[in-house]
């Protein structure tokens, strides 16, 4: 099994989720994140004091997938999350050792 972590632009979340659903993905978990990268940040000024805001809002999404699906998943995310503008984000793929579905105790591929 593989574990895919993707960092994307927040407003792309729904599109990406829909695209993944279409290729049969049934579960994923997201967290709100802030990203630092080439995209740079901006400056906020409050009563004369300037603060550099280096981090921009991102969505961090993770999903466990069967080995054979991983390429398709990466492609799907890339396709749906791309705007072509700097800051579109990254996808990381890890080896996943074990997966368990808490409700049933099912393991690994049955747990996804």
């Amino acid at each position: 099994m593989k574990f895919v972590t993707a960092v994307i632009k927040p407003f792309k979340l729904d599109e990406v989720r829909e695209a993944l659903t279409e290729i049969g993905i049934q579960g994923l978990t997201v967290t709100e994140a802030r990203g630092y990268g080439r995209q740079g940040g901006h400056t906020e000024i409050y009563r004369g004091a300037e603060y550099a805001v280096n981090f921009l809002p991102k969505i961090r999404m993770e999903l466990a997938v069967a080995d054979e699906l991983v390429d398709q998943v990466v492609e799907t995310i890339t396709g749906a999350a791309r705007t072509g503008q700097i800051g579109d984000g990254k996808i990381f793929v890890f080896e996943l050792g074990q997966a368990v579905r808490i409700r049933t105790g099912e393991r690994d591929s049955e747990a996804l």
């Binding site: 906020e44 000024i45 409050y46 009563r47 004369g48 004091a49 603060y51 550099a52 805001v53």
Partner: protein, 431 residues
Amino acid sequence: MTTTRIYRPAASAAALVGLLAAGPALAEEAKLDTGDTAWMLTSTVIVLMMTIPGLALFYGGMVRKKNMLSTLMQSFATCCLASVIWMVIGYSLAFGGEGAFHGGFSKVFLTGMTADSMSGTIPESVFMTFQMTFAIITPALITGAVAERMKFSALMVFVGLWSILVYAPITHWVWGAGGFLAGEGVLDFAGGTVVHINSGVAALVVCLILGKRLGHGRENLAPHHVGFTVVGAALLWVGWFGFNAGSAVGANNSAGMAMAVTQIAAAAAALSWMAVEWLRDGRPSVLGIASGAIAGLVAITPAAGFVAPGGALALGAISGVVCYFAVTWLKLKLGYDDALDVFGVHGVGGIVGALLTGVFASKAIGGTAGLLEGNPGQVWLQLEGILATVVYTAIVSAVLIKVIDLVMGIRVDEESEREGLDIRLHGESVS
């Protein structure tokens, strides 16, 4: 039935106009007027609202999230403490008698304020409570300068002593019977000196002695919720009509004109702050326009019963720009950490307003002419009022905070400051 004092002699000409218009002759001055009383009851209510929740939110939104509750606490507890102190001793020192510098002890614990004591056309109980709301907001304003790093215990001690040693006497000077500034003709309709210059200068002194926040100038100390600040500013604005129009001590022409010019000056200052910020920084900030409105309200405070609408428009526009530079340039230049800009907005705004009252005062409105109507002397008088206040409050506030520092310490330890005052001082946190 006893009538104990004449209120705010500086405003008397304006009040006279109002009273004449309203009909009843001044001779029967001890007779209760239900309309005047209704308006003063209302004014009291909305001036209290200025501090809680108004100021509490205005300040609470500007600090970091970890200090929000402690900031609300500073306003709320100041409200409670200043109320009790006013009842116990403050009111007496301010309005208990006719000394040049303070009013004495004859009204300690409100002795002698009976069910039928009058103060002009309103019950003395209403006058006392109205004034109490001023005694509440003035020290509460100071807390903005020390936000995010002062010990709550030390702050309470300071607020208590300062209310007695600084606020009550200065109130007497300007508004008390026999007060030396009022006697000389200094114009302060609703508290430009007593409330704003006083708290602004005390705030500067205290924050200088307290020192800067950890990470000041390096870390991001930005407001955690400008939304709360806007709501607070709006409630301050709304309540300010009690402050300014209420200072006419009746529902009369003077109150009406004070209300009109207050609205005009606030709006003009908000727009002028916004304009200069837009030009310099390329965008108008929400914190900016709210700050501008408060600056205008501060500046019109001494002038409210004395200037005409046109004067108010100019006064407001000027004060917005001046306070903008006080807050964004002067403060950076001098490098002090007046966390929420009490000096920049209330101190500077109060001084600008007091001076411009001398410039724009109109005989037709409040009975006194200003510079523009050919009376340059009024500007000098205003300057005298400013100086007396600045010197006294600066010295006494400095001594007070130094002594408290020696006795009990005024600053939280570094770890508490890092983790936040909410959890460390009050054991609570905003989710």
